[in-house]
Subunit: 367 residues, 2 copies
């Protein structure tokens, strides 16, 4: 390039630059799942979506019936070394302790405040339920969601130092975006608390509150001083794990999904319920096999145990995502696996990617 | 018209015919609520929708947050002389009687089978709950919805002789269609059984199952002989009346509506909850004031009592629909009130209108 470039040369250069800059966008439209390695798993997703959205296909499904359900912990984001919601509850005990001097001597709160893992572990499920009750109920839904949002904006994962909302799976974000672009209604069907998941699902996954189904507490409508509110009581209304998942799908959606993804035995009944419907189905399991970039665990894990569902997936020929080879990138902040680099938009930073994902009905697959 | 018409004349005639036939469609687009009489009530609906959908308005609301909730019985269809679902339950007792010889001597079933109004009335709420339990539970959701659909296709209203699904309010259908065309998500929030309302809501109102919220029974996921199913148990999970309505809106939608319509005191808390949110709101009550075309009832009625909510609507300036003057037509099969006739498409028969309403996201207001 010289200082004596003619107008003609200049315009030619601009045209080339424009073409070059538009290439990544074009590539995205042609390639819906860029973080998925080419192979039978990626192909099974694309073939399923094409079959049910092609009006001339015998497997065509009307948009209103394109219901897709996803587990959250371990399926859309990481769940190791501990469910995010449990870490939130433990931190909330610390935050609320000044208002509860009695916790200094009362288990399991004493154990949390003293960081006494042994005593906390000994308090078992009952202890955990007490902690959940104290931190998740007795306040309005709005106040609880505010607490969750505040915590999520400040908390960092012990291993990566990243916010939990960034430890979401880039390939699954792309899958959600792909499905949204094809007029699917995606739902999160989580064992976690519905309001906790709603506190981040729209911003992080582009899934609005009405498409989040989780564990719920009984609530109470109150009307005090002319101001109505919804109070969360400690009484469990619905435990959304195992059989609770198809039960809540029936209660809330009222229509059987045609696609279901999970990662643990707690998702088995949801997968069975989805698989047993008429017509073409896509049933998938995320198998955590990547010790280096994420974690590797299945049949022996206390968190996200995958045992019976893995056997059934193999018997029935469900799609099993082998995370290490099948995902070129795990998190949005990860680099793509060397040697597999395709067209990447290096200028699109993480925040742009996240806000891009949050677009409810992306007309193009998200990246 | 002669046999010697030239090609030129013929084409000219075709053009005129085409213009004439397209006129009603054009009129619909310009006039969203044709069965509503001109006046402040109709105006309040149109002004609200325009305010929240105009990007330049200070009251603009993003499409994702355009949530509108409607009671069903008495708000979207007639509820006199008895709730449709109760009549369904009574007819189901008759249908199921051959499988239940014990009912011949067991109340309240004996009273139903013998058409003994006095004994039935004496069995009270407990009796009604037994009848609901026997006819609504102990079967799968799919089987229950099949029963409801079969009954709805055969049953006729005692006064009009019409199917219940035709005794829907034409003005409310137009309002739903208008809201759908403006990217609102409309929900039914009914005291009725969720699955019962889902059995007709999509076909009749264009509201899909996931946007129907009602009273629910606890269900049980079952897996027998390789076939999963959802069994409805007799245990009530949620009573969706009064305070139960905002509670279920919070649980299922997770976002406060900006528009709510009801017709009775059972809707009061839903209206209060909606009204108390920030920003512009539309809160409406259907007041049954038409003895001739429908029914007239309010403070003294056993069905759909409207007393406290009417007082509160007046105090707070909510929109009160005075059915007799405000609705030019009640049902789709009604003629328009004489003297108020506007452009009507006489060639569009009832079935066409109903199927038109069922279009989920009508691009034009439904008629």
């Amino acid at each position: 390039m010289t200082n004596t470039m003619s107008l003609h040369q200049y315009l030619g250069l601009m045209l080339l630059l424009t073409l070059a800059l538009s290439l990544p966008l074009w590539t995205q439209a042609a390639e819906p799942l860029p973080s998925w390695a080419d192979g039978p798993v990626k192909q099974s997703i694309i073939e399923f979506v094409q079959a049910v959205t092609d009006q001339n296909s015998k497997d065509f499904v009307k948009p209103a019936e394109r219901i897709a359900v996803f587990d959250n912990d371990g399926t859309l984001w990481s769940e190791q070394p501990m469910y995010c919601q449990v870490l939130f509850a433990l931190d909330e005990v610390q935050r609320m302790a000044p208002e509860h001097p009695e916790w200094k001597t009362e288990q399991p709160f004493k154990a949390v405040l003293e960081n006494d893992h042994k005593a906390l572990s000994e308090s078992g499920v009952d202890g955990l339920l007490k902690i959940i009750g104290a931190t998740h109920t007795g306040i309005t839904t709005e106040a609880f969601m505010d607490n969750a949002k505040t915590w999520l904006s400040q908390a960092r994962h012990p291993k990566t130092g990243k916010p939990y909302t960034e430890m979401i799976f880039q390939p699954m974000l792309e899958m959600l975006g792909y499905l949204h672009s094809q007029d699917f209604k995606t739902y999160i069907v989580s064992g976690g608390d519905t309001a906790f998941v709603r506190a981040f699902a729209e911003q992080v996954y582009g899934i609005p509150p009405e498409r989040v189904i989780g564990t719920t507490f009984t609530t109470q409508f109150q009307f005090e001083e002319g101001e109505p509110s919804i109070l969360r009581t400690p009484k469990l209304a619905h435990s959304n794990d195992g059989p609770g998942k198809p039960e809540s799908i029936d209660a809330v959606i009222g229509r059987r999904p045609i696609l279901a993804f999970g990662n643990s035995d707690g998702d088995l009944q949801m997968l069975q319920w989805t698989a047993a419907g008429p017509g073409k189905r896509l049933i998938g399991l995320v198998h955590h096999t990547d010790t280096k970039r994420e974690w590797a665990y299945d049949r022996q894990s206390g968190i996200g145990r995958l045992d019976k569902a893995l056997d059934e997936a193999k018997t029935r020929g469900w799609t099993i995502v082998d995370m290490a080879p099948d995902w070129r990138r795990i998190y949005p902040f990860d680099a793509v696996t060397p040697g597999q680099v395709q067209q990447e938009s290096a200028t699109l930073d993480r925040n742009e990617r996240l806000s891009h994902h949050a677009t409810l009905k992306a007309k193009e697959p998200v990246r």
